[in-house]
Amino acid sequence: MIHTASLLIPLAWRNLWRNRRRTFVILFAISLGVWAMIFTSAFLRGMSQQILDDTIYNLTGHIQIHAKQYLDDPVIDHRFSLIDDALFDSLNHPAIKQISARVRVPAVVASEQDSTGVTLFGIDPENEGDISFLQSSIIAGRYLDTAADPGVVIGKKLAERLETGLGKRIVVMSQDKNNEIVDRGVRIVGIFDSQMDGLESSCIFMGLQTSESLLKIKNDVSEVAIILHDSAQLEMITRQLQQENPHLDIQSWKQLEPLALVITELYDDFHIVWHLIVFLAMGFGIVNTLLMAVFERTREFGLFQSLGMKPGFILAQVWIESIFLIVLGLVLGNLTGWLSVLATGDGIDVSAFAQGMEMVNLSNVIPFVIIQDDLLLANLVVIILGMLTSLYPAWHASRLVPADAITRV
């Protein structure tokens, strides 16, 4: 066996370089295909991770806690107390990195010119830091200082719509716990520009305590958002919290944001489809090139057989040749793929299409992300399918009848 291999491997290797130009062309085709697979899946992966991050770090968090019925009817009646020992104990879990409690109720804001419905968030600015985009997207004024900050932060689009601006007062109206209308003038202390239109025109942010006093709900909140250290523990922690607090509605982002989940899953599945499409094109190239090589060497194979080489050996020889080609192509493709992802740095800037991207809730810079699984998948697809398809020319070579082959011109 080793003897056979030591005969066939050098033979295949040398055959590979008999027609350099052809070998280089097919190497180019294979590495281009592999590069396309890696680069595209890095792009898709970056996009889906960004959607995930945008979902989770835009107020959602990994897990959210609400009062029962809040999700169906997000009004002030469906709130819960934060001074709840059971809840407090179960939130004191080592896997939980950060929790942020919020008041989140429908409200109306009015300026001199216009009024519109919004969602009023009462937040504790310190805890909110990592969970939401807010702190990093202030474009004018400042972020909220404390939970008792008397000011509000509103989006740029909303400010435009209300024809108001930084330092001006707006009136916030909502319903308190007795369903009485409450309203109060508040000064705009900050304006944020989120990359997502929806948030910008429909949310206003107030200190948690300020909003609790406005709505007369001391220490009650509408929502608690949780960030975990490790997202792999999502299901486990969610289940544990659910068991410990049966009176509350506790859900992971997968239930809260089914659209984001579907989109990311779709992107993941699309990797495979894309790999197959690329391989289909590449596979025809490989088969065609090898068939040409086989036809060119018909006399040679006839001679080998006449000299007593078994058809199996001929098959193995051609097959090894194509494996060399594929492996070389893979190495080159992986290398160029990795280099080109490195070259893009933080990602590609698609701000030329910013408006369109904002519409589908994507940011302007899409990062490229290579993960092991994607690399493995691309390489496995090429190796396995490549070996299978190149069996055909190899089999073809081994099927030649020596007498015919040797006499063919």
């Binding site: 409200a107 009015a110 001199e112 008397p150 007062r169 009136v171 109206m173 319903q175 309203d183 003038g185």
Partner: protein, 251 residues
């Protein structure tokens, strides 16, 4: 040492005292102006004219008020709108539409929308008394017009007052007849103003019988109230301002 502190303290007291007195005057003037128009209770018949560039319509209505926090408005003409009503209790407002036989509580979200299609917002109608409590008032100037003194009062809302305006400037006569009420945005631009005119005697009171609310920049659009008849200090029980009376008029 102690002496100087006491001195300083009494000086500050004096200062704030005198400052308050000025503010109190302005505030009292506005309160009196509102009381003057409303009385302890009142019944009036009013026409509201809504004027737009290509149409104009007139609604006749009856209005009952008691104190600052109870009022009931009922439309009497045109026939199409007869029976429509609004009830105001404290800061809550309900409307009744006979066509759908429904009473609707005006939610916060509609507080800034126009009241019955006019240039008045629901808030303008419902929150008159806020003008006294939630503003700092100051007399800007006093004028003399024939024998009557006229005060121009600037009212700046408190920071947390549920008021969108930057300031309001109210012109009121010394006999508490409101002449002009201007609404400024927070950049000190005039947004809309109310002008009162045609002062007439009703019993022992003088009242402006025409009040026009106009937005700045759209000169051809305004809403005017014309007072046809008014009676003060009439007997009005609690039942007059109830939801059932809003729906089923008993007088």
């Amino acid at each position: 040492m102690t002496k100087s502190i006491i001195k300083q303290f009494s000086f500050i007291l004096l200062l704030t005292g005198s400052f308050n007195a000025g503010a109190e005057d302005a505030r009292q003037l506005i309160k009196n102006a509102i009381d003057h128009f409303r009385g302890l209770s009142s019944y009036s018949e009013v026409s509201m004219v809504i004027h737009r560039p290509d149409w104009e319509r007139t609604l006749d209505m009856k209005i009952w008020t008691r104190g600052l926090d109870r009022s009931l408005v009922r439309i009497t003409a045109p026939v199409k709108d007869r029976g429509n009503g609004s009830l105001l209790i404290d800061n809550d407002m309900w409307t009744y539409a006979p066509k759908i036989n429904r009473i609707i509580k005006i939610p916060a979200s509609m507080a800034n929308q126009s009241w019955m299609g006019s240039d008045f917002s629901n808030n303008d109608v419902a929150r008159a008394d806020d003008l006294i409590e939630k503003y700092n008032h100051r007399i800007l100037q006093t004028q003399q017009q024939q024998d009557i003194k006229i005060y121009v009062i600037e009212s700046i809302p408190h920071d947390d007052a549920p008021v969108v305006w930057g300031k309001e400037v109210i012109t009121v006569r010394e006999d508490y007849i409101l002449l002009r009420h201007e609404f400024f945005d927070q950049d000190n631009q005039l947004v809309k103003y109310l002008v009162a005119d045609d002062i007439k005697q009703f019993g022992d009171k003088k009242l402006a019988t025409v009040e026009r609310m106009q937005k700045v920049g759209v000169e051809n659009e305004w809403t005017e109230f014309r007072l046809n008849h008014i009676k003060f200090n009439i007997e009005l029980g609690e039942h007059a301002f109830s939801l059932s009376n809003l729906r089923n008029p008993r007088f």
